[in-house]
Symmetry: C2
Subunit: 240 residues, 2 copies
DNA sequence: TCACATTTGTCCGTATGTATC
DNA sequence: AGATACATACGGACAAATGTG
């Protein structure tokens, strides 16, 4: 007798855990399962799909790594629908960087172009909340620099906030990912407070032009700024 | 008495399979394991790490989904170091789209800006091989359209080839990812051969300006082209 | 073509860790 | 503090896939 399985999966010999993962994914994409919903426990899923627990585990692992669910341990725990794709994407970009698939030079070029292209949309779409966050970011960076705390994380945050103000998820994802790489890189550099102060004041200048809705001047300042940062990154004073 | 565990694992309580995954990842990032190298079999890895085979499997699953290894079944199979991050990233963007994290409107805006920004670099960096691929792509698209085969895959490929010609991995990754979403979207549209022919002729015009190194005109044509495509995508004649 | 060895895929039973109530 | 419910992890077993002689 011909196995039914062959009839139902005509081309590819997908692994069982992949099929289960796809089924759950589809439910999520169709909106039947929504973020915040809890999935049944591993044992229960295994019972319902009529497969072993190990198979369910690998399916859940796949969904977890893809950023669609998180898994809580302990009583009343279990798989939870939660969208963490943004994080997952940043981590993957970081992997790509460490695999030498991406170089710092490529990031320098790409971020210059992409952040410049973003500016139009930032000037158009930024609301009061965005401006407030950007202002607070600069204050925080200044405070840290004054206290001899390396403000590079604040300075990276500034660019993430810019992307957020564009209200475009693609820009947000790409900038977050590039900044994850730059942050990783800068974390290995000796802090240079002189340079940091310059960076902060450049950020301030850019923000002021955005508030004035002067896209042209904001673009010029951003361009100068990113070129400066790039030169600083090329300076080979790595700590390790 | 204060638990030693807290002292020695300060932040995260990582799961065993995650630790194993990180160890293997580190070997790859350090270049000790290179693409093409084979990892020991699951049983062998379990023996070396002194853990169960299931734990190793979940660690390998993690690496597989992260795009660092592939896994072959059968004799002389096993885990193989292979960089498939580009694919993985595209798939994640597709997930983000289906999770409604990204909308078609956002893609339309972002691709217009990013592809325009790419043009300078394409004109500067494209070599003969790139130009040849782009020419062949247009020929192929024409051939398919003439044979009443929907050439949307060729037309998507055109933009991927443009990104490739920029010689910047970030552009390549971002464009490939956006095109994965657009391709998924178009695959559900009824073929419109009239529109396809227009698309192909617009591609041809853009390519000619790139060859002539006329960035300005290429930019104008690209802008018009993407606006046209966007309008067509907004047209709600979905097949399903 | 066939048999064989190797390796992944899947399942079961059991034990332990962990978070909640 | 104890009971409960869940994920995590281990070991053993067999099935399925795949390359080799």
């Amino acid at each position: 007798m011909i196995s039914q399985k062959v009839l139902f999966s005509p081309i590819k010999n997908k692994r069982t855990f992949e099929e289960i993962s796809v089924k759950i994914k589809t439910l999520i994409f169709k909106g039947i399962l929504r973020p915040g919903d809890k999935l049944p426990s591993e044992t229960e899923l295994a019972r319902q799909f009529k497969v072993g627990r190990q198979t369910v585990r690998e399916a859940l692992r796949l969904l977890e790594i893809s950023g669609l669910i998180t898994i809580q341990r302990g009583s009343s725990g279990g798989p939870l629908i939660e969208n963490t794709i943004l994080n997952t994407l940043s981590n993957l970009f970081l992997d790509a960087f460490q695999m030498r698939t991406i170089t710092t030079e490529e990031i320098a070029v790409a971020r210059l172009e992409i952040e410049k292209a973003m500016l139009n949309h930032i000037v158009k779409n930024a609301d009061q909340s965005d401006i407030r966050s950007l202002r607070e970011n600069i204050l925080q960076a200044k405070k840290n620099a004054a206290a001899n705390i390396n403000p590079y994380l604040d300075n990276i945050q500034f660019h993430k906030l810019l992307a957020k103000a564009s209200k475009n998820q693609i820009f947000i994802i790409v900038v977050e990912s590039m900044m994850a790489i730059i942050g990783d890189f800068l974390s290995r550099l000796k802090p240079k407070f002189e340079h940091s102060r310059k960076v902060i004041s450049e950020h301030e200048g850019i923000l002021n032009e955005i508030i004035k809705k002067n896209t042209r001047k904001a673009t010029r300042l951003l361009e100068e700024h990113i070129v400066n940062v790039r030169e600083n990154m090329l300076d080979p004073s790595r700590t390790h």
